[in-house]
Symmetry: C2
Subunit: 305 residues, 2 copies
């Protein structure tokens, strides 16, 4: 069985998108329960100024907690070198930096054009290396931008190469705006892989137009080994107008397990984790089909056919 890493980004991407601040104890319960269900990687938060995103103010404490969970890969988002220094001090296993392929989106989101972002990435790479942290770059708006429109594939490839030269150890392609279709997913993976090879491991998909799982399938066919997802589909990108809805972890795990991929995740246990999130965020809609429909046939039974 091929192993696929499901990387839970809800505590970061989900919680940063909503106004309500989830208490630290609830976040800890969520992370502990999801790790216990078999999820092996969680992006627990973001090292951004608390004044900007109060929802992420407890990220250092969360990292400290998550590091006590055996076998869990603890990731935090860092928008810049300052955040990277905080992440290094907290001892994260990996830092992830969003690098917007749309320069307009980059300017709007972090007030940096591409050359400035590349310099920042080089600086973050130095900090991560010194701290012994893994360093991944998320190529956001890679499939199009709500502000700029189409983002040329050649531009994504060029910027990925530049980021690799600046020290990025791993890449994800992010469909920040829900514009990706499966043909485009395949094309862009091939184009980027032609230049940076296996450094491209990950897809970060949204389900804005319901194509999330189809795009995931396209990525799996191209050899993608890590898929980001968010419990209950919480989140999206708050700075990309019209974007909504991460890939739902529960539905993704259902599909992967049914297909015979080794995720290591117990779907029934994962579904129980929703209760923690629903209780802590009573006003927040949680998405997904599997929670209502229930699992399919027993997987052992399926495999026996």
């Amino acid at each position: 069985m091929t192993a696929i890493l499901v990387s839970e980004v809800g505590p970061r991407d989900g919680l940063q998108s909503i106004d309500r601040v989830m208490p630290l104890t609830a976040k800890q319960a969520w992370i502990a329960a999801e790790a216990a269900s078999g999820v092996r990687e969680i992006e627990v938060g973001s090292f951004v100024p608390p004044a900007l995103l109060p929802q992420m103010a407890d990220t250092a404490a969360l990292v400290e907690f998550a590091l006590t969970i055996p076998g869990l890969n603890v990731v935090a988002l860092v928008p810049n070198a300052k955040g990277a220094a905080l992440a290094a001090a907290a001892g994260v296993h990996a830092m992830s930096v969003p690098f917007s392929m749309s320069e307009t989106h980059s300017l709007r989101n972090v007030r940096k054009d591409h050359p400035v972002m590349l310099a920042e990435i080089a600086e973050i790479a130095r900090i991560a290396k010194a701290a012994g942290s893994h360093f991944a770059v998320g190529l956001s708006t890679a499939f199009g931008c709500t502000i700029e429109g189409a983002v040329p594939e050649a531009q994504v490839v060029r910027l990925a190469v530049a980021a690799a030269e600046a020290g990025a150890q791993e890449f994800s392609l992010s469909d920040t705006t829900g514009y990706a279709d499966p043909a485009q997913v395949r094309r862009l993976i091939r184009a980027v892989r032609a230049e940076v090879g296996d450094l491209l491991t990950t897809l970060h998909l949204h389900n804005t137009r319901g194509l999330g799982l189809a795009n995931a399938l396209a990525g799996l066919d191209e050899g993608i080994t890590t898929l980001d997802a968010s419990l209950g589909g919480l989140g999206g990108c708050p700075f990309a107008p019209g974007a909504s809805g991460n890939l739902v972890t529960e539905d993704l795990v259902l599909m992967l397990n049914a297909m015979g991929y080794d995720t290591g995740i117990d779907l029934a246990a994962l579904l129980e984790v929703r209760k923690i999130v629903a209780e802590a965020l009573p006003d927040e809609p949680l998405y997904g089909f599997t929670p209502d429909a229930g699992p399919m046939l027993d997987y052992a039974e399926r495999a026996a056919r």
Copy 2:
């Protein structure tokens, strides 16, 4: 561009699943508007006893209306030879017969075991041939049954071969229960094609667990050329407990058009058709992501990248 036929089954599969009877004029408006948006095939109803499904009582009148629309392939479901005779009299272009791969489901649904159903299929084939109608068989519960559980792939292949020998001119694989996953879709298509070849053209998918479009993509990769779908995801199978939610036509067309398949369908015009259905069925939830999120980038712009 590869042409893909999107076959709208909402007026049959959608409307038979709900209690409210849609007035004939509303059905006509729906069919006319959807054909005008570019949909080239519509299953307009079912020739079943009106006492059993009053929602389908006007099928002959609908066929008569639909036959006046140039270029539209007019399909009706027939559960048995009696229905086929009515369909032949109405002059349908094609009849479709559901043939449940789960014998328990077949007995529960139409009170016929497999040998009796095969005899019925042979009789329907004679009626269709005499009338000059095309005759398709839908291999329902092909991916599993909520009553029986797993349905062995060898059984699906064997029954497809028997139905072909009985005169079936075309096959669809139906995920009546929302159990299919993309790996299974690929496997089953290959297995059935190995015996009946290109007679297998179609997938009829449900979105019960959100895997509908991923399963459609798996089918496209295997050379499937027709995909059933229902406007707003109306319907499902009323006799399969727990089954719900057809593939949403709007989301399917969005995906196909974005991928560069030639559907001939204008998505903006298709989205307008929802208003007709929503007005006629004010209490019925309509599904789909595209209606809320809107189309993606302009397709011409996408193609230019």
